[in-house]
């Protein structure tokens, strides 16, 4: 029997009663680890103190895109200095597969067949990383090359092998609508992939335990999946595998499934050798081993009328999936879900084509196919605008979803929360779109070499995992007797401020300062069966789950206080670090101590599942999204028509975060997402050679935006007074992915600048990434088209200087389609819409 005098931890020192608690919901609170980030004290996996005897693991990679392995001689690897053990497929006790879809198409180690350059064939464990790395290069592997399919074009023109079943969305009769439409346009859009370039490369460290146990520290967005994969590979029950993640140095989707390989490999080595094992690939190897954003080629046809109203669309989304399914199914599905962006299609047929290629298996990346869907919608808008000689913004506004009608999506979900018309109208005003449109026309009329462009593009992004069962989350909250609180949930902190936001939720519920709350490392032993921190869902799901846990404890405390002090439950109030019980007040810690003494449970789990959603993929019908997040961006660029180089002069963003949980963090997501999206569509170029080797495999060759590439003027605003119409956590909205697609404004501003070189007579069909090379070749091609397709009776003043080399030698240009009708853009802008 416990001694009632057992000393309890002393209560935390009392704090002065402020107007409100620190770190409440909606506060622009700093990141919970900011002070550790800036001092180098934040611990990432590679910084964890290494257990004695730790082995370093390195992977031996395929050098062929598609080949049978004739023989493998690993003796030089085994004999290399420092080497302790070597592992191949034959050493896998369980299933030699790390794929996330259970298709058994992604071996941990290739055994008889390699399907892309960079595919792991074996692993070597050595005393130092340097030893392991050097040894991994010594294997002698004999290959028998097989025909390799490296590009979308080759896959599409060949056998069209798919890695996963395609999807079709249908609404209305697209063919009939197209046939009956007064105008039609068609073409093909190519949009490149993207490397995640998380600053912390992939890494895992496994520590063996007794029996089957293994603890895996890994930089992953999806600890539960890692747990499952490790269990399958080791052939042990899930309960033996504990996965822990305190934080990641960036993920962006690249660590949703791609970390499975590294975790499984270290777990295998750890259990086989009885020594802790760590695997951190060099950046160049990380680039080659891990999947990227899917590149797409999208064939589109659109029918429309003279006012620019869309009657029907038909689009085929061909994606380079790589050698295995990974998440290509859901990614290409989401491309279709966003092929409407914010526009109503009365009739549509949208098809996906997830093509198998002998390249690394592509995967999740912020937006998850949504961006590739949206760029197609925006290209279609441009086609209509150029065909009719109207400003693209007019066409965009003309086609927005309606309120009571014109609100059915191609997946048969009704849009009930559309705020794009108002949001875009507000941005149009605040960024002074039409005045600047005039100024830019004037500039372009006189500028010999530099041309400016302007574009305003919207975003409507569906929030929820389209795999409905993923829309659940758990949390675990402990209140200790000193009043301090430990918080745990299934979400991963990868820089997006999730731990901060969820802690704010708990602070708000208990009405205690956020420093009272300690977010702890995500751990499959604390909160099980979690979903990936992905699909922008982190704070929606985990915030609600943590709120539920906090409320459970709070209800117990209220019931205890009401009974103990003889007041009605309504008279117990938590406010500003105090608890009022009738007219008595005490600190939160005092109440907690009293409750403990009365044997009240101070720990609770919480659970949340998103309501209302369902999805029938086979039928192409349902309500896959709980709600939509909206935003819009207006970009102005200047292009050098001699070189194709450009700068982003100004960007104005208005973004919908609902009632933001943390405006400072959300602003960071918007700014960062925008720049990442801009990078995808401009300078970030993945370049494979004819042997299927990725030659842009490190920051020296793969260029993400640098500091000076950000917009020179960057006005970012959160939409005011915009509580989510759905009952999300404190009426906030998800913000991880939606701002990424605001970067489309830059592509379209570049396109606008390019169009000026042919007097806006033709749609430039600028493909992405719009590198300087692609911009220049687009200018050259456009001028040629303008000269042949629609020569002006009175040519404009001599354009900027023509280059002399043949345009045909430059980067691939988009397939030519019909479309341009040769009408010029009006010289004067239409009046802005009334507010």
């Amino acid at each position: 029997m416990p001694d009632v005098t057992t000393p309890l931890a002393p209560p935390l020192p009392p704090v002065a009663l402020p107007d409100r608690i620190q770190g409440a919901a909606h506060d622009p609170r700093r990141h919970e680890s900011a002070h550790k980030h800036v001092s180098g004290e934040a611990v990432y996996v590679d910084d964890i103190a290494e257990p004695a005897g730790l082995l370093h693991v390195y992977l031996g990679l395929s050098t062929r895109a598609h080949a049978r392995i004739r023989s493998i001689d690993l003796s030089p690897v085994r004999q290399a200095p420092g080497v302790v053990a070597v592992f191949t497929a034959a050493d896998v006790p369980g299933v030699n597969d790390i794929g996330c879809m259970g298709k058994q198409d992604e071996p941990l180690f290739a055994s008889s067949l390699v399907e892309h350059v960079g595919q792991p064939v074996f692993a070597v464990a050595a005393e130092t990383r340097d030893h392991a790395r050097r040894a991994a290069r010594l294997a002698v592997i004999e290959y028998e090359d097989l025909p390799a399919v490296l590009t979308i074009a080759a896959a599409r023109d060949g056998e069209r092998t798919l890695v996963t079943p395609p999807m079709t969305l249908r609404v209305g009769d697209a063919d009939a609508a197209l046939a009956a439409a007064p105008h039609r346009a068609e073409g093909r859009l190519a949009v490149g992939g993207q490397e995640h370039f998380y600053l912390e490369s992939q890494i895992a460290m496994a520590v063996p335990g007794e029996d089957d146990d293994v603890l895996v520290h890994v930089s992953t967005q999806h600890p539960t999946e890692v747990q499952h994969i490790v269990a399958h590979v080791l052939h042990v029950p899930s309960h033996a595998v504990t996965v822990e993640v305190r934080r990641m140095g960036g993920g962006f989707g690249g660590k949703e499934t791609q970390s499975n390989l590294f975790a499984a490999c270290t777990a295998l080595v750890a259990k086989r050798t009885g020594r802790a094992a760590k695997l951190r690939p060099d950046r160049d190897d990380d680039f080659q081993i891990t999947g990227k954003r899917h590149d797409f080629e999208i064939d589109y046809r659109v029918g429309f009328d003279g006012s620019g109203l869309i009657h029907g669309v038909d689009m085929l989304f061909a994606a380079r999936a790589g050698y295995a399914a990974d998440l290509s199914g859901p990614v290409t599905d989401r491309a279709l879900f966003h092929a409407d962006n914010g526009y109503f299609y009365p009739a549509a047929r949208l098809e996906s084509l997830p093509l198998k290629t002998n390249t690394v298996s592509n995967t999740a990346f912020r937006g998850f196919g949504g961006p590739q869907g949206m760029v197609a919608a925006e290209r279609v808008i441009d086609e209509i605008a150029f065909a009719l000689g109207k400003d693209p913004l007019e066409i965009r506004k003309r086609n927005f979803y309606g309120d009571r009608d014109r609100n059915l999506t191609p997946y048969h979900q009704t849009v009930t929360d559309n705020i794009l018309p108002e949001l875009v109208a507000q941005l149009e005003r605040t960024c002074d779109y039409w005045t600047r449109r005039e100024d830019i026309r004037a500039f372009n009329r006189t500028s010999r070499i530099l041309r400016k462009g302007l574009a305003l593009t919207p975003v409507k992004f569906g929030i929820s995992f389209t795999a409905t069962h993923y829309n659940q989350a758990g949390a675990l909250v402990h209140v200790y007797t000193d009043g301090s609180i430990q918080l745990n949930h299934g979400g991963i902190e990868m820089g997006q401020g999730l731990y901060t936001k969820v802690a704010q939720v708990v602070a708000e519920e208990f009405q205690v300062d956020i420093d009272t709350i300690r977010p702890t490392a995500t751990n499959t032993g604390k909160v099980p069966n979690t979903s990936a921190t992905a699909a922008s869902s982190g704070s929606d799901l985990n915030g609600k789950a943590a709120q539920a846990a906090a409320r459970t404890i709070k209800e117990r405390l209220v019931a205890f206080a009401a009974e103990n002090w003889g007041v009605p439950a309504e008279a117990v109030r938590f406010e500003r670090n105090r608890v009022w019980v009738g007219d008595r007040d005490m600190s939160f810690a005092e109440l907690v101590r009293a409750a403990y003494m009365a044997r009240v449970q101070l720990s609770a789990t919480g659970f949340y599942k998103t309501p209302k959603i369902h999805w029938d993929r086979a039928a192409g019908r349902g309500t896959p999204f709980y709600y939509f997040a909206y935003g819009a961006a207006c970009a102005e660029v200047t292009v050098d028509t001699l070189t194709g180089e450009y700068v982003v002069d100004r960007v104005d963003i208005l973004h919908d975060c609902g009632r933001s949980l943390n405006p400072a963090i959300d602003r960071g997501q918007i700014e960062g997402g925008f720049v990442q999206g801009m990078g995808w569509l401009t300078m970030e170029e993945l370049w494979w050679d004819a042997q299927g080797r990725l030659r842009t495999h490190a920051p020296s060759t793969y260029k993400i935006p640098a500091c000076s590439d950000r917009p020179r003027i960057f006005n970012v605003a959160l939409l005011d007074d915009a509580p989510n119409r759905e009952d999300t956590i404190f009426r906030s909205k998800a913000v991880g992915e939606p701002p990424f697609m605001l970067g489309m404004s830059v592509l379209h501003a570049l396109s606008d600048a390019v169009a000026s070189t042919a007097d806006h007579r033709l749609c430039p069909r600028l493909d992405a990434p719009a590198t300087p090379e692609r911009v220049l070749s687009c200018i050259m091609a456009l001028r040629q088209r303008a000269a042949t397709e629609c020569p002006l009776p009175n040519p404009p003043p001599p354009p900027a200087v023509e280059g002399t080399a043949a345009a045909s030698q430059t980067a691939p240009s988009p397939a030519e389609g019909g479309g341009g009708t040769g009408r010029r853009q009006p010289v004067s802008a239409p009046p802005p819409d009334p507010a």
Binding site: Y198, A664, A706
Partner: protein
């Protein structure tokens, strides 16, 4: 011969008797010292996550510079002071103003790049008083962030000057640190190694010359911004490394009256102001070489000596009519720079010979010089094409002299003889330039690779000649997107 490496880690003197000649500062910090605040992002000097600050004596002046720990060899720190992110907090645990500004401005998200940014900001904070936005962009160009989009970090760069008392910044401690570093200075050859491999760092030119004669297979290393990657990426084992960084005579720029004699050990950062004073657009080109961390280590001499077809210095120097001074033992020879580059991977440098200086003639008053660097990204990128032009017109407006040189267009940096020949003696008109553009296309047969296709390289090279013409004939035309736009018509 001194067989002990000496440098300060913060305020702590470190003396090391054995060290792998190519051990990087980053690996030493993380693996040996377990100081894990400094991160590895790329191991090739391109992301800045590993940025540290090195204090070194420049003459008798102490300079603090941001450098990449991932490609810097530890032994090159001899006589220096190394500051890492762990040094910034005060004794009371208070954040340094640079750190506090980053916290206040929400400058970190995932936090992995953050220590590197903090150290780049620290170098800026220690060296410059309230820089403008363009300078901040330059100072941060070598640090990649994938989360924030940079805006809050730039806000922090402005805000850090408003936090706390600047004068009392304890980290710089210039007088005391300078004295301590002077005490480490000597004229001995540093010779240190492990496992039969040596790192040799002479202090004088004769020592260097003799070491190279004695060690003909040795690898000469200046800033290691190239050789560092041989080690981190290709895992090459270098048996003997001879480092030029301690040779003070090589780190000087001498004004010879008609020319600048730039010692081979002069870094881009050291050379920038002097070159920009003579050729403003050359200065702008240097601003876009690598990034701050690379410019603080990489040398003009190294960029020439490694013979890369895509180095940015050679085309500009060739257009300026620079010559190269080579030395072997006591033997010295000079040759026009363009003659140094024989073919891809082969230069006119004999065994034991080294580049001692680059001699950059001063421009005549009527000379016009422009340099253009074309890449996917403006900052911290390697050129697809780098073109440089020097023009002199006679009294009648005819071309009295023209030098056109390109990098990225052939296996070596090379002049454009056919285009030059078209222009020589002609009036400097658009018509003549168009003819020269056609000829220029025949001067080169560029390759296609991941940086650019052959077609783009050809097109852009010819267009750059037109840009040069516009900039030298139409003062009203706007032609520049970045940098000091006045340079277009300077």
């Amino acid at each position: 011969m001194r067989q002990r490496l000496r440098f300060y880690l913060g305020d702590e003197l470190r003396e090391i008797d054995a060290v792998d000649p190519t051990l990087t500062v980053l690996d030493w910090l993380r693996l040996s010292e377990r100081r894990v605040g400094t991160k590895e992002g790329c191991a090739e000097g391109d992301c800045g996550a590993c940025t540290v600050v090195v204090g070194r004596l420049d003459g008798d002046t102490l300079r603090y510079e941001a450098v990449n720990a991932c490609i810097r060899f530890l032994a090159t720190l001899d006589g220096c002071r190394l500051l890492t992110v762990e040094h910034l907090k005060g004794p009371d645990g208070a954040l340094h103003p640079v750190q506090q500004a980053m916290v206040d401005c929400h400058g970190s998200q995932c936090g992995f790049c953050t220590p590197g940014f903090v150290m780049s900001l620290l170098a800026l904070y220690l060296n410059e008083e309230r820089p403008d936005g363009r300078r901040i962009d330059d100072a941060l160009a070598g640090n990649l962030c994938r989360c924030t989009g940079y805006e809050p970090i730039v806000r922090a760069a402005h805000a850090m000057y408003d936090i706390g008392e600047r004068d009392s910044d304890r980290l710089a401690d210039r007088a005391a640190v300078a004295e301590r570093l002077k005490a480490l200075r000597d004229e001995e050859i540093l010779s240190i190694g492990a496992g039969g491999r040596r790192f040799l760092a002479p202090a004088t030119v004769p020592q260097l010359a003799q070491l190279l004669l004695d060690n003909p297979g040795a690898t000469i290393v200046a800033g290691a911004t190239d050789v560092g990657l041989w080690v981190t990426k290709f895992q090459r084992v270098l048996a003997t490394v001879i480092h030029t960084g301690r040779v003070r005579a090589l780190r000087r720029i001498e004004d010879r009256g008609d020319a600048l004699v730039i010692g081979a050990g002069v870094t881009y950062s050291d050379a920038a102001a002097g070159i920009a004073a003579l050729y403003p657009d050359f200065g702008e080109l240097i601003r876009r070489i690598g990034a701050e961390q690379v410019r603080n280590m990489g040398t003009i001499g190294g960029n020439v000596a490694n013979g890369s077809p895509i180095g940015d210095m050679p085309p500009a120097l060739i257009a300026c009519g620079a010559t190269l001074r080579l030395r072997r033992g006591e033997e010295i020879r000079e040759l026009p720079l363009e003659e140094f580059f024989i073919e891809y991977g082969r230069q006119d440098r004999r065994e034991g010979e080294f580049v001692e200086a680059v001699i950059l003639p001063k421009p005549a008053p009527d000379m016009r010089f422009r340099a253009y660097k074309i890449a996917k990204r403006f900052d911290q990128d390697i050129s697809a094409v780098c073109g440089a032009f020097r023009l002199t017109l006679d009294a009648d407006g005819r071309v009295a002299d023209i030098r056109i040189a390109f990098g990225g267009m052939a296996g070596t940096p090379r002049r454009a003889p056919a285009a030059e020949a078209v222009l020589l003696g002609r009036h400097w008109t658009e018509e003549a330039v168009r003819e020269a553009m056609a000829a220029l296309a025949g001067d080169y047969t560029p390759l296609s690779d991941w940086r650019a296709s052959a077609g783009y390289r050809s097109m852009v090279a010819t267009n750059l000649l037109m840009k040069f013409h516009v900039e030298t004939s139409d003062p009203a035309a706007e032609t520049r997107l970045v940098g000091d736009r006045r340079l277009a018509h300077a």
